[in-house]
């Protein structure tokens, strides 16, 4: 993917300074490795500190200077799960799981045939269709928020988790179509033709030939749809209330909370981020490929 970007190597040879001796370069390399480690630690520090604070008592959490050696306790987590008489996060977590998983399934049901029609048996002007899907992603969420709110209010769909499922499906469908198109395009047409010549019918071809090659891509797509749905706040904040509240909306209850609940805030943030953190660590490479719409291979 570099044809236009790279200049001829000769332009680089006109320089006057020579290459560094190999030993000096190796030494600099070790130093830069150290810098990389330092950067990694600095970026991770807030999360590590959040994790540590979540295991502290509220008194130890809210001190200055910070207490690194304070004794550990699970009180923050007990408080978060409602032991102290606060609202239980379980309904919100279950709502988030329903909204994320159901919308991801709907996206797959809609996106797979569409991607098939755009890659394996491409319709005419398939690039235009692909761009239409992408362009809907550039329409900001706020541009349609009010009519959707008014529609929900007039049809008694407010505070209904299935409205979020519907909206999350539309939020993720363009990305999914785009990603899956690029994954399905990797299935060699020759193999499909060969299977057809051998007498295989479409369902067999899809199950035996296309699926095995496209499955990792489909998994990555599902993962990204799940993450975006799990993280979403604006729709959930405006369109849900008591019954259909999702985990991020539940978290907004902590926005004004004061120091006394610091450990609880940290425990809450960590628990709610855990599904995304786990999924993201498991599929780092696929994640970036998916987020860049398959453009970066």
């Amino acid at each position: 993917m570099s044809a236009t970007a790279v200049r001829p190597a000769t332009t680089a040879t006109t320089g006057t300074t020579g290459a560094k001796p190999a030993r000096a370069r190796r030494k600099a390399g070790a130093g830069l490795g150290l810098v990389a480690w330092l950067a990694g630690i600095v970026f991770f520090l807030p999360i590590a500190w959040m994790a540590l604070t979540s295991f502290h008592s509220e008194e130890d959490a809210a001190t200055n200077p910070p207490s690194f050696a304070a004794s550990l306790t699970l009180d923050g987590y007990r408080e978060f799960f409602g032991a102290g008489g606060g609202a239980s996060p379980w309904p919100a977590l279950i709502n988030s799981a329903v909204a994320s998983i159901a919308s991801t399934l709907f996206v797959l049901v809609l996106a797979l045939p569409a991607a098939y029609a755009l890659s394996i048996r491409p319709v005419k002007k398939w690039t235009d269709v692909l761009f239409f899907f992408l362009s809907t992603k550039m329409l900001p969420v706020v541009a349609g928020l009010l009519p959707i709110y008014l529609f929900a209010k007039n049809t008694d769909m407010l505070d209904n988790i299935w409205l979020l499922v519907l909206l999350y499906t539309s939020m993720n469908l363009p990305i999914a179509v785009w990603m899956m198109q690029s994954f399905l395009a990797e299935v060699p047409v020759a193999i499909i033709e060969a299977a057809r010549v051998d007498g295989a019918r479409l369902p067999t071809i899809l199950a035996r030939v296309v699926a095995p090659i496209a499955l990792p891509g489909i998994a990555a797509t599902s993962l990204i749809c799940f993450i975006f749905s799990w993280n979403e706040l604006l729709f959930a904040r405006v369109l849900t209330g008591v019954v259909a509240e999702t985990a991020p909306v539940f978290l907004t209850g902590f926005i004004t909370s004061q120091g006394l609940f610091l450990a609880k805030v940290c425990a809450a943030s960590l628990v709610i981020s855990l599904p995304v953190l786990a999924a993201g660590f498991a599929a780092q490479d696929k994640l970036v490929q998916g987020l860049s719409l398959g453009a970066v291979k």
Partner: protein
């Protein structure tokens, strides 16, 4: 998708769909059918509401006084553009987006260059660096607001305490910077990942050749690496802009739009959710769309150049 497509003419060519005789119109619909559910769904759920927003934006309509609703032409747009608070939110949106995208791109580039080298524990460092991107945005904003920025027990002032530094109230003193810093922390890993993929797709032989010819590291970076990274930088800027222009979570959580940090999405949210000004909110929403179209015009050019390569390669 290479030259192996030697199958008979019935085989669908990936780049150029085969031209069918008009008699096979039915067959044409058969190939189109799998596409229709997704297309229709997207048009109904995303385009129709936008058209409705456009219509509402021409009405003076407060939800608390529904009977007073009347057509006002471009009145709402005039109000949005002449209201100092709203005009400021346009400016805030620009500052927030440009600041965060540029800072996270530069930091992401530096980190990608560091991670492109071999060193002990590279995989671990990469995982540490990715983590900020994987924290739920509201949780990340809460983390910055309470755990890091708090003037009395936040980690930043805690660390400053050890070196005898000042104890500033970060959010009150520099509210917009405080929001931006948290977003840069979240988005730098994303930029790093894209740029790292770009770095690893460089032509190593060419770099070796340049090195043998006596090119310095700096010359290799400027003449070989940067030109190669250009489209990756553009892609990162594009995707970052699309998401950060629309940012709601950080502004809502860290400052609740106060202290001059209200961006357009937050303003739209506030003017219809709290002030019930449906017409004004819609006009502001349409303005966000116009801003996005400006970005998208640039964006589509970038994406289509990426795309052309993919098609060309097929």
């Amino acid at each position: 998708m290479t030259a192996t497509t030697t199958a008979p003419s019935a085989a669908p060519d990936h780049t150029r769909p085969t031209v069918r005789p008009p008699s096979s119109r039915l067959k044409g619909w058969a190939t189109r059918a799998p596409l229709l559910p997704a297309l229709i769904f997207m048009i109904v759920v995303t385009q129709l509401p936008f058209v409705a927003t456009l219509v509402i934006s021409f009405f003076d309509w407060n939800a608390l006084y529904p009977d007073a609703r009347h057509f006002t032409g471009f009145g709402n747009y005039g109000d949005v553009l002449s209201d100092p608070a709203l005009r400021k939110s346009v400016w805030t949106t620009i500052l927030l987006t440009v600041g965060v995208v540029l800072a996270s791109l530069v930091l992401g580039l530096a980190l990608a260059l560091l991670l492109d080298r071999r060193f002990k524990g590279r995989g671990v460092v990469r995982t540490l660096l990715i983590a900020p991107f994987l924290v739920v945005p509201v949780a990340a904003a809460l983390l910055w607001k309470h755990v890091l920025y708090n003037p009395e027990y936040g980690l930043l002032n805690g660390l400053l305490h050890y070196v005898g530094g000042p104890q500033p109230d970060w959010i009150s003193n520099t509210p917009l910077l405080a929001v931006e810093a948290s977003l840069v922390w979240q988005w730098t890993p994303f930029m790093m990942l894209i740029l790292l993929a770009g770095l690893q797709s460089r032509d190593q032989q060419q770099i070796e050749a340049a090195r043998v010819d006596g090119a310095s590291d700096w010359q290799i970076f400027v003449h070989l690496t940067l030109p190669h990274l250009r489209r990756y930088l553009e892609l990162g800027a594009l995707l970052g802009s699309i998401y950060i222009v629309q940012n709601f979570d950080a502004v809502f959580t860290i400052t609740s739009g106060g202290l001059g940090t209200a961006n357009l999405p937050y303003t739209v949210y506030q003017s219809f959710y709290q002030a019930h000004e449906n017409g004004l909110a819609s006009a502001a929403g349409v303005l966000v769309v116009i801003g996005s179209i400006i970005i998208a015009t640039f964006a589509l050019r970038v994406v289509s150049s990426l795309f052309r390569e993919e098609v060309g390669r097929a």
